[in-house]
């Protein structure tokens, strides 16, 4: 490297530091805090200097790296190898993963906490797979997916608490309601182009949330709905002492009573629901409607001229995606036994979109990896709660910048006309 280059990159780094000072100076350096009446400023210059120093150093290292003649390619090689392996061995990987998921509750190190995290990850996997139909296959960016999740959860909660019907009747009903809302929203808006659609779906998600907050008579407002019935094992409730004339799960199977039974049952329930979603998606991709989705994603005008009706095709994707969101919502309601509008904010939608996008739009395995990665990481760094969303948003930006197609880019059409050309 020339001496001139070093001086140049040095100047460049100093400029970066200057900008960083302007960025962090007021917002980080001058923290406002209320003391008694009015606000006061607590300076935090130490943090600012550390941040600015990091920026200068980072910029200098990036410059050094880009000045090298040999590229530092190990990461991109690793990444491409990784996606090649997962693609080749997709089937083995899937079977191993499912087997692991099945035996997971009985592994020696699995405790209550692990089960809770696993249930949460599986819920997000299911939501990710549901949204993958809309975003990954049909190419419609839906930023209001949480609305359907909320519709599913609330319809389950309302039906179950009002009529007292069992989980297995309420679940399909909740899915149907969510699909109905999907059509209701989709019908007018699906003619819009990509980014307009994204904003409108976001608006729809917010409308649903505002209605949930303000419609006291039905949704009980911000207090939410409590006392949602827990699921039963084909009519056998998970209770220590069952009501008169009822048998509970542990009595029927002659087991010692344990709260883990219910957790394990919930775990298998969400596992089965998620696998159904996955199976359904894999199958429907090969049907005409699934192929039409992928074709629409690639080129809408070509599809129109070949006689594919874009609105109807997109509407099916929207409704089916919404239905799975509704299923996941009713599972959420029955697991929590309590729901409130707070669980259905925009950030939830953003997390689900992030899972789909980071996994590689259209890739089913990618959704699994991204869910485990994002939810697992945020669980591990629970103590750093306030920083995790920064890391989360930052990961979204970084992945878009360095790997815009996601971790496992899978935009290959499911079926090719003349077989797979390699």
């Amino acid at each position: 490297m020339e001496k001139k280059d070093i001086i140049q990159s040095f100047k460049d780094s100093l400029f970066t530091g200057f900008i960083a000072l302007a960025l962090f100076g007021p917002i980080v350096g001058l923290r406002t805090a209320s003391k008694g009446e009015g606000l006061f400023i607590t300076p935090q210059w130490g943090v600012v200097f550390v941040l600015v120093g990091l920026c200068i150093l980072g910029r200098f290292l990036i410059n050094l790296n880009s000045a090298r003649t040999t590229e530092f390619t190990i990461f991109s090689k690793l990444a491409s190898k990784f996606s090649a392996i997962t693609e080749d061995k997709a089937k083995h990987f899937a079977i191993t993963a499912i087997l692991f998921a099945v035996v997971f509750p009985f592994l020696p190190f699995t405790d209550r906490y692990f089960m809770d995290v696993a249930i949460m990850i599986l819920t997000y996997i299911m939501l990710g797979w549901g949204l993958n139909i809309v975003v990954g296959l049909a190419g419609l960016l839906d930023l209001g997916y949480v609305a359907f999740y909320a519709v599913g959860a609330y319809s389950y909660a309302l039906i179950a608490t009002t009529f007292g019907w069992s989980f297995w009747i309420c679940l399909p009903l909740a899915g149907l309601f969510a699909a109905f809302f999907g059509i209701l929203l989709g019908f007018p808006v699906l003619r819009l182009r990509g980014d307009y659609l994204a904003i409108v779906t976001l608006g729809f998600g917010e409308i649903i949330r505002i209605i949930l907050i303000n419609w006291y008579e039905v949704t009980n407002g911000p207090d939410g709905i409590t006392g949602i019935p827990r699921p039963s094992f084909f009519g056998l409730p998970f209770k220590r002492s069952p009501d008169e004339g009822e048998t509970s799960f542990h009595l029927f199977f002659n087991l010692e009573y344990s709260t883990m039974h219910r957790i394990i049952f919930l775990y298998y329930l969400i596992l089965v629901l998620a696998l159904i979603t996955n199976y359904f998606t894999l199958k429907i991709r090969k049907l005409p409607v699934g192929r039409a989705w992928e074709a629409l994603r690639e080129d809408e005008i070509a599809c129109k001229s070949l006689g594919v009706n874009p609105t109807n095709t997109k509407l099916t994707a929207f409704a089916i995606g919404a239905m799975f969101g509704g299923f996941a919502g009713s599972f959420f309601a029955t697991r929590q036994a309590f729901i409130s509008p707070e669980s259905f904010t925009f950030i939830e939608s953003a997390i689900i979109v992030a899972i789909v996008v980071l996994g590689g739009m259209g890739s089913q395995t990618g959704v699994v990896l991204a869910s485990i990665f994002l939810i697992g990481i945020t669980e591990m760094f629970r103590d750093l709660e306030q920083y995790r969303m920064i890391a989360f948003g930052g990961a979204m930006v970084l992945i878009m910048v360095f790997k815009p197609k996601g971790i496992l880019a899978n935009r290959k059409p499911t079926i090719l006309m003349h077989g797979d050309k390699k």
């Binding site: 900008i19 302007a22 960025l23 100076g25 007021p26 917002i27 980080v28 001058l30 923290r31 406002t32 805090a33 209320s34 009015g38 606000l39 006061f40 400023i41 190419g139 960016l141 930023l143 007018p188 808006v189 003619r191 819009l192 182009r193 990509g194 980014d195 307009y196 994204a198 904003i199 409108v200 976001l202 608006g203 729809f204 917010e206 409308i207 505002i210 209605i211 907050i213 303000n214 005008i301 070509a302 925009f346 950030i347 953003a350 979109v353 992030a354 996008v357 306030q386 920083y387 969303m389 920064i390 989360f392 948003g393 930052g394 990961a395 979204m396 930006v397 878009m400 910048v401 815009p404």
Partner: protein, 303 residues
Amino acid sequence: MEYFIQQLVNGITLGSIYGLIAIGYTMVYGIIGMINFAHGDIFMIGAFVALISFIIFGLTGVALPIILLLVLLIAMLFTACYGWTVEKLAYKPLRGSFRLAPLISALGMSIVLQNYVQVAQGARVKPMQPLISGGLEFFKNSEFVVTVSYLQIFIVILTIILMGIFTYLITKTDLGRAQRACEQDRTMTALLGINVDRTISITFIIGSSLASVAGMMFVLYYGVIDFYIGFLAGIKAFTAAVLGGIGSLPGAMLGGLLIGLIETMWSGYVSIEYKDVAAFSVLIIVLIFFPTGFLGKPDIEKV
């Protein structure tokens, strides 16, 4: 009738704030064809910078007009840095990538900015004592006295001045010409020797400074801010930009005024709980029935 006039005055004030934010959306959309989702959060940062400088200058005891001017300039300067950096980090590498990539990157940036301010400044709401008080009263003899506060007059006049400067900048200067050229055809503009990257950066800088002025007005008008204000204000300003015709600058201001009026009229006459629903419904209805807005050009899809 008096009540209506009062709501009209409030609506115009609110509309000025939305209009200033909407300009940022519409300019960025015009020039690089993406929805800058993080723009609402840039507005929020502008509000925070303004709040911090108000507190600092409040301690020095300088005369009020000088404080206002200084805070205005400081907020514009620092917020412009944010706009510039966000463009460099999150959008510039994505030019020429597939259509949804910049939108998702912008979404990530918005999450980052929100939580960054939450961490740096705390999650609590920040109240501020009103700086400009008093106002003019009309219809004193009727049942309902219409009050036009000095603050509202200040906001509207400041908006008009800024719009004047801004219109001059876009229509009369070389910079504005370069910008309009970039909107029409970026490749051709580059061939004619105009630095496209620089023009785009300046677009972000102008958009962010106008948003920071809106942020300062928000602090003064509502007297309370938190890290979350950018989300709703951003969506409403985006609605305003769409309503006026995205890509059209006078349209953004017009759309802002309309959204401000719709929101205040809705909360005045229909229900205050559902005022945000009104804004979102307007967005959906406008996009379905007039996707090009009032002053926008029709968008022709080419193969």
